[in-house]
Symmetry: C2
Subunit: 214 residues, 2 copies
Amino acid sequence: MANAVRQVARQPRGDATRQSILEASEQVFADLGYAAARLEDVAQAVGIRRPSIVYYFPGKQQLYDQVEADIFASMHDFVLKRVEDADDPMARLHALLDAWLDFLVGRPTAARIIQRLIADSAPRGDNPVRFSETALRDIETVISMGVEAGVFRPVSAMHILNGVAGGALFYVCNGGQLGEARSYDAANPTELSAFRALLHKLAEAAVLQSDERK
Amino acid sequence: MANAVRQVARQPRGDATRQSILEASEQVFADLGYAAARLEDVAQAVGIRRPSIVYYFPGKQQLYDQVEADIFASMHDFVLKRVEDADDPMARLHALLDAWLDFLVGRPTAARIIQRLIADSAPRGDNPVRFSETALRDIETVISMGVEAGVFRPVSAMHILNGVAGGALFYVCNGGQLGEARSYDAANPTELSAFRALLHKLAEAAVLQSDERK
DNA sequence: GATATTCTACCTACATGACGGTAGATAACT
DNA sequence: AGTTATCTACCGTCATGTAGGTAGAATATC
C-alpha cells in the first residue's frame, strides 16, 4: 500500500519535513480553522507540493488530528511538570494556572485552535481527546485536593475552569483582536505579569473561604 | 440588478422568510463556523431552496455579516438597558456582567459565533463591527466611572474583559463540551445562579482594593 | 570498489465532488 | 396585470484525493 501510515519516520530528512508540516499546519489551522485551511497553504509554507503532504499524512483530517493531539499532550505534560513541584493546595492551583497561561502564551496557535474547538457544539465522534475534558481532569485533581485539605471551599471545578482558565485563553487570543490602538502583545513581560497577578487574584477569590482572603 | 440588497422587506411573507433565514443561518454558522457552513443547510432548515436565500441576501458573506451585526447590536442594546438602571459603580459592573451572561445564555448561538470570532487572528478588513471592541468600550465606561469614583482600583478594562467576561462565554460554550457525565445545561437556573455568583465574586476581586472586599 | 537494486522523498497531472452563484421560468399574492 | 417570492437547471471554481512517475540516497551484490 503506497499510503500506509508510517508509524516511525525512517530518515532524518523525512523527519524534518514531517515536523515542518506539523508546524506549518498548526499555524494554518489556527489562522483559518479546519474548514477554511487549505493543504496548499501548508505545502507552500513548508516549501513542498501539496501531494507530498499525503506522503506523510493520509489526509487533511488526520493531519489536523495529529496537530490537536500534540497540543493536548504537550499541554498536559507541561501542566503536570509544573504542578508536581508545588505541594500546598494554593501553590498547586497557582502553578496550574501559570502553566496554562505560559503554555498558551508560548504557543498562541494552540490557544486559537482550542478557542475554535470550544466553539464546536459537540465533540466530534472520532476525535479521542477533548480539551475541556483533559483540562477539567487536571483542575479537578487540584481543586479536590484543596477541598479535602480544608483550604478551599467546595467549588465546582467546572466553574473554575470556565471563569479562570477561560481568561488565559482570552488573554492570548484577544491580543491582536482590538483596533490598532488597543492591541497588545500577550508575551510582553509587563503585560503578562499584570495579567498573571489578576489571574491569581481571581483564583483565590474563587476558591478561598470568604473570610480568609489575603 | 437582480440581486439588489433589499433595504426594506416589502411583504409580510418575505419578512418572515428573511427572518427565518437569519435565524437558521445563525444556528448553522454557530454550529459549523463560516467556512464549513453550507447554504444548503440553511435552506433546508428554513424549508426553501438554496437559491431563494440569494433573493434576500446577495451572498453567503453578506448573510453572515448580517447575522454578526445583529448579534452585536442586540447585545449592546441589552447591556445598555441593564446598565443604565444601576447607579453605583459596583452595581453597574454587576449589571454589565449579568447582562452579558444572560444574553449569551439566552442566545447560545451568539456565544459560539463570538467564540469563533475571537479565535481569528486579526479582524477581517471589511467587517465593520468587532466584538471585543464593542464589549471593551462598554466595560471601559463602567470601569473608568468606578475608578473616578474611587471605588475601583485602577485596573485594565482589557484584563477584566479577558478574565471575567471570557468566563461567561466559556460557561455557555462548554456546557455540551464535556463527556456525557459532565455535561450541564447553561440555562438551568441552579447552575446559572451558581455561576453568576462566582462571576460576581471574581469581578469584585478584580476591581476592589484588596482591603475592602466583602 | 564498481554495479545493480531497492527505498525515500518528492513531483506532475488528473479525476472527483462540493459548494456558491446565476439565469430564467413559474407560482402566488394584491 | 404586475409585482413578489420561490423554484429548476446550469455553470464555474476550487480543494481534496489519487495514480503514476522520477531523482537521488541507501543498501546489497559481485
